[in-house]
């Protein structure tokens, strides 16, 4: 009953003239209007914006209500509207970022916490229980993991899967066996390899997942999982409340890692996370730094491994993409596993490679 006399309008998110008032409104509330937003609704009194909220894919963000209009349950109206829009777009799972102090308000709207970076930010999902569902479908054993399990985790994007990745997986496979025992018992000595599911990389998520699966099939203690929305995704990587760009990376990394350490690691019995040393990318380097701070507080050991080098340079996916672009395929062949090489030659990969040649390189 809170919306008497308010007009609800949908913003053309690609029109600067329409975006600007929303941006100004959010700015006054110390919130930012993120560039990845693809749907925005505002409530107006006359021509004045009094509340707004947006969708970026399946993530509700940039929700703000003018202080003097708080207490009218306008947030309920905004979130209801966005939820129906997400439904029209066939998004069954919704996420929202919130300041921890507003958590109860979203819980009241049916959201459930995925994880929290204490004092900073909390990620909620609706319907609740999605993380657990995902973990179970990936074979997590909640009961045994809680007590006896001891496994190693790797998280990779693999855009595409290179010999560098392969080297890291081998190291992890060996370490898991050394430290935690043989693979006879499924709950010990396993490497859980999570492949980033977000489709923002050149190689589609499904292709990357298959390259990794095929490229590690011979390693009997390696389990490959799609990371889903719960590991390094647009859901665990907010850009919402933070103004200072340095803080963005820190907060993103923090939230992602708190979710990993507090929710995912216990379900898979993860005691150690291994990661390749990052000499080039500042964002990844910052993420690795955050791991050093956060993981040990949950009793998870972090092991950073020097990456495989060839010709004095770390073998990296970006090198592979560069070489493909320059059509130096014989050099590509030297630094990717046989399985990836076969994929690159397949009909399926052709459109991807065409696209790669046309555009400038992206980071991940």
């Amino acid at each position: 009953m809170g919306d008497y006399g308010f007009n609800t309008e949908i913003i053309q998110t690609d029109e600067t003239a329409e975006r600007k008032p929303v941006e100004d409104f959010l700015h006054r509330l110390s919130l930012s209007y993120d560039s990845d937003v693809d749907y925005t609704v505002v409530m107006k009194e006359g021509s004045r914006i009094v509340a707004t909220g947006s969708l970026a894919g399946g993530v509700i963000k940039c929700v703000g209500v003018e202080p003097e209009f708080q207490g009218l349950a306008l947030t309920n109206t905004i979130v209801s509207h966005l939820e129906m829009e997400a439904y029209r777009r066939n998004r069954e799972r919704l996420f929202v970022f919130s300041r921890p102090r507003n958590r109860a308000a979203f819980e009241d709207l049916g959201f459930q916490s995925v994880g929290e970076y204490p004092e900073e930010i909390v990620l909620l999902e609706k319907p609740g229980g999605g993380l657990l569902e995902w973990a179970m479908s990936e074979g997590a054993d909640q009961e045994r993991s809680a007590t006896e399990a001891a496994n190693v985790a790797l998280v990779m994007n693999c855009n595409p899967f290179t010999k560098g990745h392969r080297y890291l997986v081998e190291q992890a496979s060996r370490r898991a066996e050394e430290l935690y025992g043989s693979t006879v018992d499924e709950s010990r000595g396993v490497v859980h390899l999570f492949v980033v599911s977000e489709d923002r990389s050149l190689f589609p998520a499904a292709h990357r997942l298959r390259m990794v699966r095929e490229g590690t099939a011979d390693l009997s203690n390696v389990r490959v999982h799609p990371g889903g929305p719960y590991i390094i995704s647009s859901a665990t990587f907010p850009t919402y409340f933070i103004r200072n760009p340095d803080d963005i990376v820190r907060t993103h990394a923090g939230l992602d890692l708190h979710i990993f350490a507090s929710r995912i690691a216990p379900l898979f019995g993860i005691k150690r996370r291994m990661v390749g040393h990052e000499p080039y990318c500042p964002v990844t380097a910052a993420y690795n730094r955050a791991m050093k701070d956060i993981l040990p507080t949950y009793g998870i050991e972090l092991e950073e491994i020097h990456r495989l080098e060839q010709g004095g340079r770390a073998v990296s996916a970006s090198t592979v993409r560069d070489l493909i672009r320059q059509e130096r395929m014989d050099e590509v062949k030297k630094i990717v596993p046989e399985t990836t090489w076969r994929y690159l030659g397949s009909a399926e990969a052709r459109p991807v490679i065409e696209r790669l040649k046309k555009e400038k390189d992206r980071r991940h």
């Binding site: 009953m1 809170g2 919306d3 349950a73 309920n76 109206t77 979130v79 209801s80 509207h81 939820e83 129906m84 439904y87 069954e92 709207l109 049916g110 319907p127």
Partner: protein
């Protein structure tokens, strides 16, 4: 009525209800009810929803109800809409509406 996708209707505003329905993986009817008046109207609401499902011949449904104190007429309208959406039916079957 056969539910072929997820159907959703309603809002989370006061005096309204948001209802989400989809086919049940075990081919039965299950109602998940969250209501601000659960203690005093919970059984009544469940019974009403079961009646509507039966009348519309829905035998497999997971019904998620987030009720903010909606009256019977509101619950009925929202549930019927959600069911039609889930069944992919575009036009109303007036004979099924009471």
């Amino acid at each position: 009525m056969n539910l072929i996708r997820t159907g959703k209707a309603g809002t989370l505003e006061s005096s309204d209800v948001m209802i989400t329905v989809k086919g049940h993986s075990e081919n039965r009817v299950e109602i998940k009810l969250k209501s601000i008046v659960e203690k005093r109207f919970g059984r009544h609401i469940r019974r009403q929803i079961e009646d509507i499902l039966e009348r519309m011949e829905v035998n497999s449904a997971l019904v998620d109800v987030d009720d903010r104190g909606a009256l019977d007429c509101v619950i009925q309208a929202r549930l019927e809409t959600a069911l039609y959406r889930a069944a992919g039916i575009q036009s109303l079957r007036w004979e099924e509406i009471q």
